[in-house]
């Protein structure tokens, strides 16, 4: 009887140890969040990545030159009119394919205010009697949306696709001529074409290498 009692006690101890060991093992294993080694017992590891994209103001004339080439007004005509994106008028100039307009693109990531300026006007650029030097602008991308060039006051009121003559008495373009109050940076609405129409009178003085420079200046909105 004494031996049996001892046996019962020993078995109880065995069961207790087994249960205790199992419980302890379970407690330890539950502390492991996963096999990645991460713990969740109050010492959470956190990583962070900071990304800063700087504002970039960057414009570019992707078509930076309009060259009508050489010619003279066909004798007998009073003048010859040259125009970008238009076929040769057959009045004395020899180019065969239409001349492309200047193309200005906002290649940055910031919407900007756009100012345009140039150096000459009709008389200083072409000369002769009643010369013509006109320009216009349009937005070829998604034109219907009219999102490329917002024109709020005090922007000069120069409507799209409307030629404006640059004469001595109508110097539209100067350093303060803001064309767009917001020139869009969106890739689908960030291009402006600047077109030209020249009227060369028959008495314009012959000269090679006549040129005018157009400067686009922008500041971030």
């Amino acid at each position: 009887m004494n031996v049996q009692k001892t046996l019962v006690i020993v078995l109880l101890i065995t069961m207790s140890l087994s249960l205790l060991g199992t419980y302890s093992s379970l407690q330890r294993i539950s502390g492991l969040k996963s096999l990645t080694g991460a713990w969740e017992n109050g010492t959470t590891t956190r990583g962070s990545v900071n990304l800063t994209i700087s504002q970039l103001v960057n414009i570019n004339f992707t078509q930076d030159r309009v060259n009508f080439g050489a010619g003279f007004v066909t004798p007998g005509l009073a003048a010859c009119q040259l125009e970008t994106n238009t076929a040769n008028p057959s009045c004395g100039w020899t180019y065969t394919t239409p001349r492309s307009a200047l193309t200005l693109e906002n290649q940055g990531n910031a919407n900007v205010k756009l100012n345009l300026s140039n150096l000459n006007y009709s008389q200083s650029f072409i000369g002769g009697t009643n010369p013509g030097y006109a320009w216009s602008w349009n937005d070829p991308e998604n034109d219907a949306l009219q999102n490329t060039c917002a024109r709020a006051a005090p922007v000069n009121v120069i409507n799209e696709d409307t030629f404006v003559n640059i004469s001595a008495t109508n110097e539209v373009l100067n350093s303060s001529s803001q064309i767009c109050s917001m020139f869009n940076a969106s890739d689908s609405n960030d291009v402006i074409n600047i077109s030209f129409r020249l009227l060369i009178p028959s008495d314009a003085v012959a000269e090679t290498g006549k040129f005018d420079t157009w400067t686009a200046t922008v500041v971030a909105v």
Partner: protein, 79 residues
């Protein structure tokens, strides 16, 4: 003929003690292994990564040009 052998209480007691030793040893081994796992865990570290995309080149002004040449009108009779 059936041979019936009786196991003595003493033998049972010895076996029970063996069970106790085996269970205790097993438990100790498991706990010891878990402790080793804990010690080989990677240390806690905070990763702070700053990635800054900065483009220094800014072009707020660009120029284009328009040009032509006006040639002398050929004299009458010239080709």
């Amino acid at each position: 003929m059936v041979i019936k052998e009786e196991v003595s209480n003493h033998t049972v007691l010895v076996l029970a003690l063996l069970v106790v030793l085996v269970v205790a040893g097993s438990t100790w081994l498991v706990l010891n292994r878990l402790n080793e796992v804990e010690q080989t865990m990677p240390g806690v570290s905070v990763v702070e990564k700053n990635v800054e995309t900065r483009i220094d080149y800014v072009s707020p002004e660009m120029a284009g040009s328009i040009g032509l040449s006006i040639l002398p009108t050929p004299q009458e009779g010239q080709q």
